[in-house]
Symmetry: C2
Subunit: 226 residues, 2 copies
Amino acid sequence: MLSQVEENYLKSIFKITEKEGKPASTNAIAGDLQTTAASVTDMLKRLSEKTLIHYEKYKGVQMSDKGLTIATQLVRRHRLWEVFLVEKLEFAWDEVHDLAEQLEHIHGNSLIDRLDAFLGNPRFDPHGDPIPDAQGRWTRRKQILLSALEPGEKGIVSGVENHSPEFLQYLDQLGLVLHTQITLRERFPYDQSVRIRTDDGRELSLSEKVAANLYVEEQSGTKERR
Amino acid sequence: MLSQVEENYLKSIFKITEKEGKPASTNAIAGDLQTTAASVTDMLKRLSEKTLIHYEKYKGVQMSDKGLTIATQLVRRHRLWEVFLVEKLEFAWDEVHDLAEQLEHIHGNSLIDRLDAFLGNPRFDPHGDPIPDAQGRWTRRKQILLSALEPGEKGIVSGVENHSPEFLQYLDQLGLVLHTQITLRERFPYDQSVRIRTDDGRELSLSEKVAANLYVEEQSGTKERR
DNA sequence: AAATATTTTTAGATCAGCCCAAAATTTTAA
DNA sequence: TTAAAATTTTGGGCTGATCTAAAAATATTT
C-alpha cells in the first residue's frame, strides 16, 4: 500500500502531465508540492522502482498504467468526498479542499463505491470538475472559458479554472453559482471585461480575470475513455 | 498538530488507564499497539514533553488534562464515523472498525460537529458504545453483563464487551441485535450457559462465553462528567 | 536479605521522507 | 560552438518512528 506522500506525488505528476501534455519536470513537481527538487528526485526513484511512473534521469516523468489507475482513483475519492462535504455536511464550496485532501487517502475496499452510491453517483464535484466512475472513466464536457464566449452567446456556468477560496467566495458574493445560465451581452475592448445577464435577470460586470477563470458549457457531455 | 502515531498512543493509554484504573505500563501499551517496549519508552518521552501525559520513569503513565481532551475527541470521532459507515453507507457492524480507525485521524475545524449533526447527534455507536458530545461528556448507562443477570430478569441488549468480527458475526447469525429485549429463563450450573427468550418470542441458548461478552441494560442512562 | 525474574530504559541502527549545498547535465544565448 | 544559465542529481545530514541487544531498575521468590 502506498504512503500518503507517494499518493500525493502521483496526483501531482498526473495533474502536471495532464495539463502540460508532456513529461513533468522535477521542478514543476517540486513547485506543485511545495518541496525541493532534491526531495522530488528521491521520490521519483522510489516510484519508478514500484513501476508507478516512467522515469528517465533529466528527462522528466510520465505516469505508467499502474500509476494512472491509482491517480484516477485518488481524484475520484477527492471529488466524491467534496460532494459529501458540501451536499451532506453543508460546507461551503471554498472550505472543502483541505478536508478532501485528507479524506482521499483513506483506504478501504468498498468505502468509495458505497459513498458514491450514497451520494447518488454524482458525475461532477461542487466545483464542476468531473468525477471518474469506478472503472476510471471520465465524463468530458464541452466547456469553454467565459472569456472565449462571443457577445450574444448563451452558456451555463459549469466550472472554475481557479479553485482558490478567494475566487470562490467572490463568485458567491456575485451570486454566480454553478448551473446559472448566462448570456454574454458585451465585451469592452478597453480591458476585456464583460457584461453578462443571468437567468434571474440580473446584469453583472466581470473583469477579464474573472471571465478567464470561469467555464461555461454550451452542450451536454458524452462519456469516453480517459 | 499531533501525528497519527501520537494520537494512537494517547488513545491506547486512555483505554488502558480507564480499564485498569491505574497508570498504564510500558508493556501494556506495547502489547496494545503491537510494538516493542523500547519504542513505547521513546514515544512516552515525546508525549511527556508535550505535556500530554504524566510520565515518571519506571512508574507508568497517566493522561494529563490536555491528553484526556484529545483522547476523548478521538473516541468521539471514531464512534461518529462508525455510525456514519453503518447508518449511511450500510456497512455491517463488524466491518467498520478499521475504516473508523483511519477516519478518526482526519483533522478539521467543524468537520466532526457537522458530522454529528448530520447523523442526528447519536449518543451510541453501532456497538452500543457511548459517543462523547462536543464538550467531552459521556452518556453513562447502567449496563451489566448478561452473565450477571438472574433467571427471570429482563434486559435490553445494549452493547458488546468483545468487538471482534467473529463475535459480532455470530450474534448476527443468532439474530441477536442491539436493542433486543430479552428475558433470562435459566442458567445451567453445569457450564454456566443460559437460555433466553427474545421479544419476538424465540428461545436461544447462549454459552457462558457469549453471555460474558454481551451487555444488557436495565434502566435508562443519565448524563455525567467523565 | 540475597538471588532471581521481570520490566523498563538506554544505546546504537535502520528506514522513509525531507532538506541544503555542491556537482553534473542539459538548455539557451552569444 | 562555446560560454553562461537553468535544471537536475548526488552526497551528506536531519527528524520521527521503529527495531534489537544490552544495561539498569524494580518486583518476586526463597
